[in-house]
C-alpha cells in the first residue's frame, strides 16, 4: 500500500490546524468552517479507502493464507533516538482495530465538523466568536486522535495521547470567558495528566525490560506459559539485561514488574477513559461546546483507554492480575456511573455518565476476554461496542446539542414535551436511546449482548452485575427521553420563539448517524476484528438465551421508565423521598468532586505547596538572608569602635599593648 494516503490522513488535519490557526482570523467564518469541513471530508474518504483496502483487498501484507489479519506498518520514521534500541518512531500501523478506529474517528469527526457549521451560530445565523479557532482546534484534535490510533509504538501513542489531552483542554475551554469552562478544562487536563504519569512510568518500565517501544515487538511475545515470568523480546538480544540474567523475574512490592507496568499503563487509560476514581473530569468537560462533547468526550478520545488496553492486549493476557484489575475497575465504574446518571438533571451530564458507564462496559469486556472462552469473544465485543457506542453516543450528544441549541439550556426541567416541536431530533434521539438500551434491531443490542455473553463465560457474578447495569442504563436513558420529549406539554415562554428543528447542517449528521445506528449491528464484526486476527464468526456463538434475558431486562427497564416519566406524576418524587440519602449522594455524584477538591486544595495546596513556599521564603531564603544579616549585624557591632573618639582608640591600643606585654612577661617568667 502506498505511503501517500496514510501520510495525507495525518497531514491534512495538521495542515488545517496550522492554516486555520494562523490565517483563520483573516478569513470569513463560513470560509474557515467550510475549509475545515472539506478537509475532514477528504480525510474521511481517504480513511474509508484505507480501511476498506485493509479489510477487503486481501493483499498479502494485510491477510495471510490462513485468513488471519496481520499488523502492517506502512511507514515508520525515526523521530528521536534514545539508545540503539529505544527509538521513538512516528509511523502508521494498520491492523484491524486501527482501521476500525480510523473509520470511527473520521466519521464522527466529519459529522461534528458539519454539525458545528449550524451549531456554532445563534438563531440569527451570526457565527460565534472564535469560530475559526474552533475549527482549528477540531482539526488539531482529529490529527492527534488519528495519530494516536495508528501509532506504531507505545511512545508515539503517548505523544499523541498528550496532544489529544491538550486539544481536549483547548476545546473544553473554548468559551474561555466562562470561569466554569476554564476550571473544567483545567481539571480535565490535570486529571488526565496525573493518569499519564502512571502511563509514562509504565512505558518506562515496560521498555526497560523489553528494550523496545514497538507494538509489533511487544505483542509478538509468545503467549503460552507466561504465568509469572516476564519474557523479553528475544529478537533483540541486547535487551536481555542484567535484571533478567539475574534469574527470576524481578518482583517489586509483591507483584511482578510486568504487572506493575501494565497496571500503570492502565492507569493512563483510566484517566483518559474516565474510570473511577479518575472520572471526575468528564462530567465537567461538558462545559465545552456540545459538538466537542460528542466528538471527544463521547465517541473518540474517551475510548483511547480502551484502545490502549486492546492494543496491548497480548501483554495483558500474560498477566492475569492486571486483567482482573481492569475488570474490577470497569465493573465498579459502570455501576457507579449508572446510579449517578439516574439522578442528574443536566442532559449532558446524564449522557456523560452514561458514557462513563458504557466505556466501563468495554473495559469489563476486555477484562473478561480470554482466548479460552469463545476465542477471546470479549475483545471483539469490546471493540464492537466501542464502534457502535461511538455512533449512537455521538448521535445522542448531537441530538442533545440540537435541544440545547433550541432551548438555550442544559437543564431538562426547561424542556419537556418537545416531541412535536422537533420531530427529527425526537426520532433520532429515540433511536439512540433504543440502541443504548439494547433493543433488538439497533446496534447497541448486538454489541452489549456480546459483552454480557463474554462476561457470562468468565463469571456468573460479572454477568449478573453487568446485566444490572444494563437495566439501569435502559432506565436512565428512557427517563431522560421521556423527560425531554414527553412528561408535560411544552410551554413557550414569552419573548421566545417556539423551539423548532435545526438547519440541515445539523439534521443531516443526526440522520446519518441514526441510520448507522440502525444497521451497524448487522456488520459481521467478528470477521473483521478479533484479538489475534483470526476471523471469528460470532453468529455461530450467538447465545440466544443471554440475548433474550438482556432483551427482557431492557424492556423491563423501559417499561419502568415509561410508567414513571411518561406523564407528569408524583411517582418520581415519591421514589426520591423514599430514599433521600441515596438520592442525595447519587445526585452529588457520591461527593467525588468534593473529595478531590479537598485533596487538591486542602492537602496538596494547603499542606504541601503553601508550607513549602513558606519554607522556601522563610527558612531557605531566611538562612541565606541571615548570612547577610549576620554579616551586617557583625559589622554594625564593631562599627561603634570606630567612634571618632581618639581616646577610645588609645584605650584599645593600650589594652592590646598591655595584653601583649602581659603575655610576653608570662612567657618569660
Amino acid at each position: 500500500m502506498s505511503v501517500t494516503i496514510p501520510i495525507l490522513i495525518l497531514a491534512i488535519p495538521l495542515f488545517m490546524f496550522i492554516f486555520l490557526g494562523l490565517c483563520g482570523k483573516k478569513m470569513s467564518h463560513l470560509l474557515a468552517g467550510t475549509l475545515g469541513t472539506l478537509g475532514m471530508g477528504t480525510v474521511l474518504v481517504l480513511a474509508y479507502y484505507t480501511a476498506f483496502n485493509y479489510f477487503f483487498s486481501g493483499q498479502a501484507c494485510f491477510i495471510n493464507e490462513a485468513g488471519e489479519r496481520l499488523q502492517h506498518v506502512i511507514f515508520n520514521t525515526t523521530w528521536l533516538q534514545f539508545t540503539d534500541s529505544l527509538v521513538i518512531k512516528l509511523g502508521f500501523l494498520l491492523d484491524p482495530i486501527s482501521a476500525m478506529m480510523l473509520v470511527v474517528i473520521t466519521t464522527i469527526s466529519f459529522m461534528v465538523h458539519l454539525y458545528s457549521l449550524g451549531y456554532m451560530r445563534d438563531h440569527h445565523g451570526v457565527f460565534e466568536k472564535g469560530f475559526q479557532r474552533f475549527y482549528a482546534f477540531l482539526s488539531l484534535f482529529s490529527f492527534s486522535m488519528l495519530g494516536l490510533v495508528v501509532a506504531t509504538n507505545i511512545f508515539q501513542m503517548y505523544i499523541f495521547w498528550e496532544l489529544v489531552g491538550a486539544s481536549s483542554y483547548l476545546l473544553i475551554g473554548f468559551y474561555y470567558t466562562k470561569p466554569s469552562a476554564v476550571s473544567a478544562s483545567k481539571k480535565a487536563f490535570i486529571v488526565t495528566r496525573f493518569a499519564d504519569l502512571g502511563f509514562l512510568i509504565g512505558i518506562l518500565t515496560l521498555s526497560y525490560y523489553t528494550g523496545t517501544f514497538n507494538f509489533t515487538d511487544l505483542t509478538s511475545v509468545p503467549v503460552e506459559g507466561l504465568a509469572d515470568t516476564f519474557r523479553v523480546d528475544l529478537s533483540t538480544p541486547e535487551t536481555v539485561l542484567a535484571g533478567i540474567s539475574s534469574g527470576a523475574a524481578p518482583i517489586f512490592m509483591g507483584a511482578s514488574v510486568l504487572t506493575w507496568a501494565l497496571v500503570l499503563i492502565f492507569v493512563g487509560g483510566m484517566g483518559k477513559s474516565a474510570m473511577l476514581p479518575l472520572h471526575i473530569w468528564l462530567p465537567d468537560a461538558m462545559e465545552g461546546p456540545t459538538p466537542v462533547s460528542a466528538l471527544i468526550h463521547a465517541a473518540t478520545m474517551v475510548v483511547a483507554g480502551v484502545y490502549l488496553v486492546a492494543r496491548l492486549f497480548p501483554l495483558y493476557l500474560m498477566e492475569n492480575s492486571a486483567l482482573v484489575i481492569v475488570t474490577v475497575v470497569g465493573a465498579i465504574t459502570a455501576f457507579y456511573a449508572a446510579v449517578v446518571a439516574c439522578t442528574q438533571v443536566d442532559i449532558k451530564r446524564v449522557l456523560a455518565f452514561s458514557t462513563i458507564s458504557q466505556i466501563a462496559f468495554m473495559m469489563v469486556s476486555l477484562g473478561v476476554a480470554r482466548p479460552e472462552y469463545h476465542e477471546g469473544l470479549g475483545y471483539m465485543a469490546s471493540m464492537f461496542h466501542l464502534f457502535t457506542h461511538a455512533m449512537f453516543k455521538a448521535l445522542l450528544f448531537l441530538g442533545a446539542g440540537a435541544l440545547i441549541h433550541a432551548i438555550g439550556s442544559n437543564d431538562y426541567t426547561e424542556m419537556h414535551g418537545l416531541r412535536k416541536y422537533m420531530p427529527i431530533t425526537h426520532w433520532t434521539f429515540l433511536i439512540g436511546c433504543l440502541a443504548i438500551a439494547g433493543i433488538i434491531p439497533f446496534s447497541g443490542f448486538f454489541s452489549k449482548d456480546e459483552i454480557l455473553s463474554a462476561a457470562g463465560n468468565y463469571s456468573v457474578w460479572v454477568y449478573i452485575w453487568m446485566s444490572l447495569v444494563a437495566f439501569m442504563t435502559a432506565f436512565y436513558m428512557f427517563r431522560l427521553y421521556y423527560l425531554i420529549f414527553w412528561w408535560k406539554e411544552h410551554t413557550v415562554r414569552e419573548g421566545h420563539h417556539a423551539p423548532h428543528d435545526q438547519p440541515w447542517t445539523m439534521s443531516v449528521p443526526l440522520i446519518i448517524l441514526a441510520a448507522i445506528t440502525c444497521v451497524a449491528g448487522f456488520i459481521p464484526f467478528g470477521n473483521l476484528v478479533s484479538w489475534n486476527g483470526e476471523p471469528y464468526d460470532f453468529m455461530a456463538h450467538f447465545d440466544w438465551s443471554i440475548a433474550t434475558v438482556s432483551l427482557i431486562v431492557a424492556v423491563a427497564a423501559i417499561l419502568l421508565a415509561t410508567v414513571m416519566y411518561r406523564k407528569e406524576n408524583k411517582l418520581p418524587a415519591k421514589m426520591k423521598n423514599a430514599m433521600p440519602a441515596l438520592w442525595r449522594w447519587a445526585f452529588h455524584r457520591f461527593y467525588w468532586d468534593e473529595l478531590y477538591m479537598f485533596i487538591t486544595h486542602k492537602i496538596i495546596f494547603g499542606c504541601v505547596c503553601r508550607p513549602l513556599a513558606w519554607f522556601d521564603r522563610h527558612i531557605i531564603d531566611g538562612t541565606m538572608d541571615s548570612f547577610a544579616i549576620v554579616t551586617n549585624k557583625a559589622s554594625n557591632a564593631i562599627k561603634p569602635l570606630q567612634s571618632g573618639q581618639v581616646q577610645m582608640y588609645v584605650w584599645l591600643y593600650l589594652i592590646g599593648a598591655l595584653l601583649l606585654g602581659g603575655i610576653t612577661i608570662l612567657c618569660l617568667i
Binding site: 533516538q81 522556601d616 531557605i620
Partner: protein
Amino acid sequence: MFENILIYFVVIPLLMLAGLGLCRNIRQIRAVAVVGSLALIGLSVWLLVDYLALRAAGETAPMLYTGSWMWFRPLNIHLAVGVDGISIAMLLLSSVIVFAGSFASWKIPQPKEFFLWLILLSTGVFGFFISIDMFTMFMFYEVALIPMYLLIGVWGSGNKNYSAMKLTLMLMGGSAFLMLGLIGIYYHSAPAGEQLTWNLLEIVDNASIPHGWQSFLFPMTFVGFGVLGAMFPFHTWSPDGHASAPTAVSMLHAGVLMKLGGYGCFRVAIYTMPQAAHELAWIFLILTGISVVYGAFCACVKTDLKYINAYSSVSHCGLVLFAILMLNETAMTGAIMQMLSHGLMTALFFALIGMIYGRTHTREITQMGGMMQIMPYLSVCYVIAGMASLGLPGLSGFVAEMTIFVGSFQAGMQDYLAGAGSLRLVFTIIACCSIVITAVYILRVVGKLLFGRVYDEHHLKLTDAEWWERLSTVTLIVCVAGIGCFPNFFNNLINFTFTPEIFSVLGIK
C-alpha cells in the same frame, strides 16, 4: 589567532561594545544590537553547519576548532578554545536569546548603558562556552556575572537593590567555591613533576587528580556551578533576581546564564572528576531531585508571574543537573536538550511577562484576568510557552523531559537490579511527578491570567504586541517548535559528544 572562527564569538560582542560607544541615538543603538546579534546567529549557524560537515567527514576528536594562546605564562594560563556539539548547541541558544532579548528591550530607558552592559554580559557567556581553559572559563564566567548587578540594580523594578545584591552575592559565593575547586584541579592537573595545566582536555587525558582530592574538589566545583544552576538550597537568588530584573536580563539570565551552571557542572565537575562524580552523585541527586519537585510545588502558590517562572526555572534547571548526575548517555543528552529547551521557553516566558507587565504594570495574577480578550497575540504566545513548559509533544519541553526520564529510568533500573540501591529509581519517579505539578501551576496561571473575565476595566484599553515584540516572540517560538518537531537533529548533534571514548574517559559503563 584570528583565523580561528571561535574567537569571533568574543570579538563580535567586543566590536558591538565599541560600536555602541560611538552611537548617538537610540536608532543607532538598536541597529548595532540587531546587526551584532544577527551576526552572532549567523556565525553560530555557520559553525553548526561546518561542524556537522566535519563530523560527517569523519572527524573524531572530542573538540573541534581547538586553538590555544598563552596569556599568562607563570600559571600556564591559555586562551584555549574548542567546541563540541554541546557547546555549539549552547552557542546557538545564546545567540538566539541575545537576538530576542535585543528586541524585547526595544524601548528601554538609557539604552546605551543598558546595551553596553547587556553585551558585556553576552561576551562573558559566549566566552564561557567557547573556552576549554578553566581559568579563561572562570574569567568569562565572572564577566557574565558582574554586569547582572548593574542591569538589575539600575534597570530593574520592585525591590531591585536587594535582589541585585542578593543575586550577585550568592553567585559570587558560588564562584568562591568554584575558584577553590578550579585551583585545586589545577594543582593536580598533571602527574607529579610535569607542567600543570588549566586545559580541560589535557586534564581529562592526564586523569591525574587523586581520588581523595576528587571527593573534595568535586563538591566544590559542583556546588559552585550548581548555585548558578539554581540547585536547592542555593536557588533563592533566582526568584528575587528574576522578579526584579528587566525583561531582557531575565531572558538572558534564565535562558543562558543559568545554563552556564549546568554546562559547567558537566564540563568541569563531571568531566574531570568522574570517580568522585560517581560516588558522590547521590548527595546531589537528592538535592536536585528535591529542586525539581520543590520548585514546582512552590510555583503552585505564588501569585507573581515572575516568581512563578523563577520557581519553574528552579524545577527545570534542577532537572538538568539531575539528569547530568545520572551519568547515563541518554539522560545527559536529555540534560543538554533540557538546557536548550528551558533556555528558549523560559526566555519566551520572561519576554511575555515583561510585555504584559509593561502594559498592565502589575505582575500579580490576582489582579489580572481575561488577557485573551485584550491582547490575544501575547496570550496565545503565553499559552504556547506554557504548553512547552508542561511538556506538550511537538514543543521542546516534551522531548527534553522524555529523554531525561528514559535515561534516568534506565540508570535507576540498572542500579536497582545491580543491587546498588533504589535511590536513582525513586528520584526518577519523583522527578516524573513534576510533569503533573508543572501542569497544575501552568494551567493555574493560564486560567487566571488569560482566560476568565477581564479583571480590571482599565486593561481593556491596552494594546496587543508591537512588531518588535512579535519578532522577539516568534523567533523563540519557532526555535521551541523546531526542537520539538525535529528532536533527532539536536539529539545527534549532542549525542556525538557522548561517544564511547568519552564514556570510557568518564569511567562509567
